[in-house]
């Protein structure tokens, strides 16, 4: 690409990542401890006769892989946007303390049996995690809001502080909890993708899609903000409005993702950097490519987590850290040299 980005060159670039994403989504559900019979899948699709292989494929692996890809793809997009508005390359979706709030909500829902219910497509754990995440989001917004926009460093510091307070609250709740609940809490905190059927996905999308939509509507403006707030204003960008959109779009998308999967760390931090190293710094490429790369990466990591010590599954966060970290370093070193 010699000149400035065109719609055609942008689409060509992003489609490379999209193909990788689609391949992972197609291949990963076929892999696991139970061998999937292709004949069974086709019969289920055409004739409606379901064998065990089709049940596992359509109601366990497909929703799980789709969930993993969408959740982590979203976290990578939010990470890319937050790194710009927080002027911090180490920012990630969890920097604003949203996960901390979600954790407190989830742990409360697990701790008190009276709070365990199902409402519409939401489980109580998911609903309370959402409430906790939104409470933190509103608290940070009220702390960092200024007449002329956002106080970025207050945003950052308030996020870090609320994360610490939330961690303290979670520790207290764990201390007070009966040991019976501790395992359930730990599994949530490690980040899990245990879904059966499409109910959880249905609960995820009403918040995820608007959140992502808002972020994607800011792609051009994020480029200008990356050059500095004042130069962006000079170029004609309504900077306070962009901050507000990225804050709420990113916040809502993160809350939706975390409420369902628990915290899956690391990917939201490194995927945007990897994409920038591979494809440059234009956020019209970085944001969609981060979604596809994050999604593809997690679909692959989840498959490894399901198969490595089959039939035992290990938390996917362990795989993302162990495999993703060296991969990221390799990209970093390759480009530096």
């Amino acid at each position: 690409m010699k000149g400035p980005l065109t719609l055609r060159s942008g689409l060509a670039h992003v489609s490379g990542y999209a193909i990788l994403f689609a391949m992972m989504l197609a291949v990963c559900p076929l892999t696991g401890s139970e061998t999937i019979r292709m004949g069974g899948l086709l019969q289920a699709g055409w004739r409606g006769t379901w064998d065990i292989s089709a049940e596992i494929f359509y109601f366990q692996r497909v929703p799980r892989v789709v969930l993993a890809a969408c959740v982590v793809g979203t976290l990578a997009v939010v990470g890319a946007a937050f790194q710009v508005i927080l002027r911090n390359p180490l920012a990630e979706p969890y920097t604003l303390g949203i996960t901390g709030g979600a954790s407190v909500g989830a742990v409360l829902a697990i701790l008190f049996p009276a709070l365990q219910f199902t409402w519409s497509v939401f489980s109580s754990v998911q609903l309370f995690a959402l409430i906790g995440a939104f409470a933190v989001l509103l608290m940070i917004y009220s702390l960092a809001r200024r007449p002329e926009g956002f106080a970025v460093y207050t945003l950052l510091l308030a996020g870090v502080t609320l994360s610490i307070v939330s961690a303290g609250a979670v520790m207290f709740l764990r201390y007070a909890a009966s040991p019976n609940y501790l395992v359930q809490m730990d599994r949530w905190m490690m980040g899990g993708l245990d879904v059966t059927g499409y109910q959880e996905l249905a609960a995820l999308f009403p918040l995820l899609i608007p959140g992502l939509g808002i972020l994607f509507s800011c792609m051009v403006e994020l480029n200008h903000l990356a050059l500095g707030e004042e130069l962006a204003l000079g170029h004609g960008v309504d900077v306070p409005a962009v901050y507000q959109r990225v804050f709420f779009g990113g916040g809502v998308a993160t809350a939706a993702a975390v409420s369902l999967s628990g915290p899956i760390g690391f990917v939201g931090l490194i995927v945007p950097h990897a994409v920038r190293r591979l494809s440059g710094y234009d956020h019209r490429i970085v944001l969609p490519a981060s979604f596809f790369m994050g999604g593809a990466l997690l679909a692959a990591c989840d498959t490894v987590a399901r198969t490595l010590f089959s039939p035992t599954e290990i938390p996917v966060g362990i795989i993302t850290a162990l495999a993703g970290g060296p991969l990221f370093l390799r990209i970093l070193l390759r480009r530096s040299s």
């Binding site: 500095g228 000079g234 170029h235 920038r276």
Partner: protein, 267 residues
């Protein structure tokens, strides 16, 4: 002869930062087409604040700022950006864009959603790079540029807005003499093309040589405004900067220059 039209007009402007007793007063300030005006003054005198206010970056409640006769408070940022270019003192470098991408970003206010350049935009971008001598750098990453090259690229990005008024905050600070002179030579060409240029600078000699008018500020007030020979006098400068300097003349053009007084007899 009729004076050039005023493109930037500031009237009765008063501004105070929240929780601060410091206040800026600018009863009258004009930027005319075809002129370079330098704003000089010691640190904290309000030069950059004046520029930020004029660029519409700092919101104000008292006074009036007009660009091409229109009050900037009633215009959205895109509309302002089509007539006014602002180059801040610093811009972060964490995101390593290519030179061509940075210059192209200057077209933002003229582009539809998506920010993709059309043929005319590409021509403007190329012309701005030619004007600022940055065309050979266009594929380079910003991190690979020298300070002077980087400043010229950012100027090209601002010029791509096709502004009529250009506000520059210390554009030549931290540049070597060669790059300083080169930068001001570009500004002279732009002024000759009809732009109104306001430059905040600490370099009074360069300002004297290249600017048509100078504005001297101290403690938030405009102390003196006029031609370089009217502003760069011991009488004007000594109360503000102290008296340890001498004023001479450039050997080729009748412009004042300032020298440090090595024997301590100045003032």
């Amino acid at each position: 002869m009729e004076p050039n039209p005023d493109l930037l007009t500031i009237t009765d402007l008063r501004y105070a930062y929240p929780d601060s007793s410091w206040q800026l007063d600018a009863p009258s300030f004009r930027g005319r087409a075809g002129e370079i005006v330098s704003v000089i003054g010691p640190n904290g005198s309000g030069k950059s604040t004046l520029l930020r206010l004029a660029a519409g970056i700092l919101p104000f409640s008292q006074g009036r700022i007009e660009i091409l006769g229109k009050d900037i408070r009633f215009q959205d940022r895109r509309r302002i950006a089509k007539v006014l270019g602002y180059l801040p003192q610093e811009s972060p470098a964490e995101f390593d864009f290519r030179v061509i991408d940075v210059v192209a970003m200057g077209r933002y206010a003229h582009l539809p959603a998506g920010g993709f350049l059309r043929d005319h935009d590409r021509e403007v971008v190329e012309e701005c790079m030619r004007q600022t001598a940055t065309l050979p750098l266009k594929q380079r990453r910003m991190s690979r540029l020298s300070g002077g090259e980087r400043k010229r690229v950012l100027l090209a990005s601002v010029l791509a807005q096709e502004p009529r008024v250009l506000l520059l905050d210390e554009p030549t600070s931290a540049l070597d003499l060669h790059h300083q002179v080169r930068f001001f030579a570009i500004l002279t060409q732009l002024a000759d093309a009809g732009l109104s240029i306001v430059v905040v600078t600490h370099d009074m000699n360069l300002a004297s040589l290249y600017c048509h008018r100078m504005v001297l500020m101290s403690e938030g007030q405009i102390v003196r405004e006029g031609a370089p020979e009217e502003v760069l006098t011991l009488e004007q400068l000594a109360p503000i900067y102290g008296g340890n300097f001498l004023i001479g003349r450039h050997p080729q053009i009748p412009r004042p220059l300032i020298y440090p007084d090595m024997k301590g007899t100045g003032g």
